[in-house]
């Protein structure tokens, strides 16, 4: 299956704004994302603002650079991926004159960089709007007239096997394994397939 960069960006944007509190009375508010799917890179740039709420008050534009990563078919039959952040860039500072010193911006940069795990955790999980069933059902019939057949079910495991970013689309190769059909009573004890992960396309550098 494949999905466009436009749709992925819409789905990520729908989760914004996201505000994350950082040490030293700093907060980062993320407001928009761009998604670039090219040359097997699923790059995500998220823009926003970092702001200090007490003296010296300072604000700067922040850009988080990362990639879509960790594709999982979860227990709710959804295909999800996370955004991993590799790099933080700050720019266009504003605030009290003292805050415009490059040293202050450097300190801000270090604090935000040190908070990458918190920032990554605060980012939305991106769910691709498809449903991947974990079983196939064949309805029963009758008994009606001369005929009757018991309903049956075959367990199915779906794994996101490989992911490619190509021509502005994200291509996700799914591996589907269908079990054998058994009557519903027999298959009730079958265990549900576990969630599976896929390697992400090459990370943006």
């Amino acid at each position: 299956m494949s999905v466009t960069d436009t749709l992925l960006r819409s789905l990520i944007d729908a989760a914004f704004p996201v505000t994350v509190a950082l040490p030293n009375k700093l907060s980062v508010t993320l407001t928009a994302a761009t998604v670039t799917l090219r040359s097997n890179v699923a790059r995500v740039d998220i823009t926003g603002e970092v702001r200090r709420s007490s003296y010296p008050r300072v604000a700067a534009a922040v850009t988080l650079r990362g990639a879509l990563d960790d594709f999982v078919v979860d227990s709710t039959r959804a295909l999800r991926t996370r955004i991993s952040i590799d790099d933080v860039r700050l720019g266009t500072p504003s605030g009290t004159p003292a805050a415009l010193d490059p040293l202050v911006i450097d300190v801000l940069q270090r604090i935000v960089e040190g908070s990458l795990p918190e920032l990554t955790n605060s980012l939305p999980t991106v769910a691709v709007p498809i449903t991947l069933d974990q079983a196939m059902q064949l309805p029963g019939f009758g008994p009606e007239g001369y005929l009757s057949v018991a309903p049956s079910r075959a367990a199915m495991s779906v794994e996101a096997a490989r992911v490619f970013a190509f021509q502005n689309r994200l291509w996700i190769i799914l591996t589907v394994t269908l079990g054998t059909f058994a009557s519903v009573a027999e298959s009730a004890s079958a265990t549900a397939p576990v969630a599976a992960r896929a390697a992400a396309p090459e990370r943006a550098k």
Binding site: S2, T4, T6, A127, T131, P143, V176, L178, T180
Partner: protein, 355 residues
């Protein structure tokens, strides 16, 4: 002694210094280890390799028919035809697997007159018979063979060998004999009544039909049709049971025996049930089957669900792939509350059907 001790310590220090030097050289910072010019050459080489691989990919994409004919849309689902073939085979096999065919109680009746040439008396009526067969509990089971599938446009043509793998049944057989004419005073009337077991005769059939692929509510649905499919069940009464019935009738000797022998009860029972019983398989027996992937009309995002407008944009079957595509946009209305359970979401935005 002291000199030896100092020499030993000196040697140890020397070994330690040499080891430190080697380790320092081995694990010195990368920037110091590698000559910048070498690194640049390596970058250029890797860039060249990447570009050549990219060219290979573009050429392969341009020449391969794998992606040809796919519909456009924000989301495209492509099912390889071998996968669809395997799923449909399993489904079709499932339809015919262990299907229990059960005949309702059937009453068959045959009456007739028995005439025979009695030497100097010429051809005479010996009597009439009234044969009634009440079949009950006749059951058979269907077992499928390996279906043959052929993809054509949006249809899959099917040819499924089906075997009626035998079964059993019971018949209550009653035969009344009323003597007439010359046989009357000798034989009188006679009645025999007996349960006869039977076997459903194994038979092979070919079920021919098609599966139409449609997209309904964002899901690919295989809708089967087997027009006019019928299975004919033949029941063979157990020879031992028929022989037992015949033996009751043949206890009479002389003219009476001739008359009852002419009646040939066993043959007539075979003739009655020998034509078989037609079991029509109704079309509604073959229910549409949903293939296991579908577009979703809402997605979880943070602590809520985001409603989507999903508009199917194409369904196409190519020799290699079955494509289904949809355009997706955020629904104009507000998001619905978060679901806390793991059940599938109720659609919050309608999906138009492709057909």
């Amino acid at each position: 002694m002291r000199r030896w001790l100092l020499g030993g310590i000196g040697a140890l220090l020397l070994v330690g210094l040499v080891a430190l030097g080697v380790l320092g050289a081995r694990y010195r910072p990368k920037a110091e280890r590698e000559d910048p010019a070498t690194v640049m050459r390596e970058i250029q080489s890797l860039t060249k390799e990447r570009d050549s691989l990219r060219a290979v990919v573009y050429e392969a994409t341009a020449t391969s028919d794998l992606l040809d004919g796919r519909p456009s849309g924000d989301i495209i689902i492509g099912l390889p035809t071998p996968f669809v073939d395997a799923v449909v085979r399993d489904v079709v096999t499932g339809w015919f697997h262990d299907v229990d065919l059960r005949l309702p109680p059937i009453r068959l009746r045959k009456t007739g007159e028995i005439r025979a040439r009695l030497s100097i008396f010429g051809r005479r009526t010996l009597g009439t018979y009234d044969l009634e067969v009440n079949l009950r509990g006749v059951r058979g089971r269907l077992q499928p063979g390996t279906p043959v599938l052929r993809f054509a446009d949006d249809d899959i043509q099917l040819d499924v060998p089906v075997r009626l793998a035998g079964g059993t049944g019971i018949a209550r057989i009653r035969m009344d004999w009323a003597s007439k004419g010359m046989a009357g005073p000798v034989c009188g009337d006679l009645s025999a009544d007996r349960d006869v077991t039977g076997q459903v005769r194994p038979q092979s059939y070919r079920a021919r039909g098609r599966i139409r692929l449609t997209a309904v509510d964002g899901r690919l649905v295989a809708d089967p049709a087997f027009p006019g499919l019928a299975i004919r069940i033949f029941v063979d009464p157990a020879p031992s049971a028929i022989a037992a019935l015949d033996s009751i009738l043949s206890t009479k000797g002389g003219l009476c025996g001739i008359a009852l022998g002419k009646a040939r009860a066993g043959d007539r029972i075979q003739a009655l049930v020998g034509r078989g019983f037609n079991v029509k398989i109704p079309q509604r027996f073959f229910r549409p089957v949903q293939l296991p992937i579908a577009f979703e009309t809402s997605v979880p995002i943070q602590e809520r669900r985001l409603a989507l407008q999903v508009t199917p944009s194409g369904l196409k079957t190519t020799p290699s792939t079955l494509w289904m595509a949809a355009d997706v946009s955020l629904a104009p209305r507000a998001a619905t509350p978060s679901r806390t359970d793991a059940t599938p979401a109720k659609p919050t935005a309608a999906i138009d059907s492709l057909r």
